[in-house]
């Protein structure tokens, strides 16, 4: 899992305001903060499909 998370609650996490992206290295802490509804995994960027040839 990536260490980057989106702050989704109402509180600052490690100094990052809601809506921002925070880096959490500790997996146990990741679980706790997700369980408490403070963060969620950052959505992966959608890559556009390659154009079809012909």
């Amino acid at each position: 899992m990536s260490n980057q998370f989106e702050v989704v609650g109402r509180r600052k996490i490690a100094g990052v305001a809601p809506g921002g992206v925070v880096t959490i290295e500790d997996e146990a802490q990741q679980r706790r903060l997700i369980a408490a509804g403070h963060i969620k995994p950052k959505a992966a960027k959608k890559t556009p499909p390659e154009p079809k040839e012909g």
Binding site: R10, K12, Q29, L33, A36, G37
Partner: protein
Amino acid sequence: MGTILKDCFIEVDSVDVSDLVASVEVNQSAPEEDGSTFGGGRSRLHGLRDDSFVVTFLDDVDQAVRTQLQPLLEDEDTFTVTVRKHSGAASATNLEYTGTCKFFGFTWGGAIGSRDEIAGVTFPVEGQIATDDGSV
């Protein structure tokens, strides 16, 4: 001239909980042990440091405090608690106190008409509290 505490910063497990806290204590202490020996007067030794943070939380309608504390209790793991007198960055006039803590439980409840608080929540520190004046 004295000052009034109005803007303390409290972070538990990287979560800024300042707006849920009604009081905070930073306890740094070592017990005094008797080191007296024959042939001398009273001598005192510093025992093992026994630092802690003690917080009184006021819960909100979303039970934010209990939501925050429950995983800390169930995980039985260490986490960081940080306290500053002001919400600004650590500095020589705004010391930051940080400790690696464990959590062993809390009591919630109250009488009709009382405020919804979780008082005396203690975060004992593994080792001792570190202070930072922002110079590092």
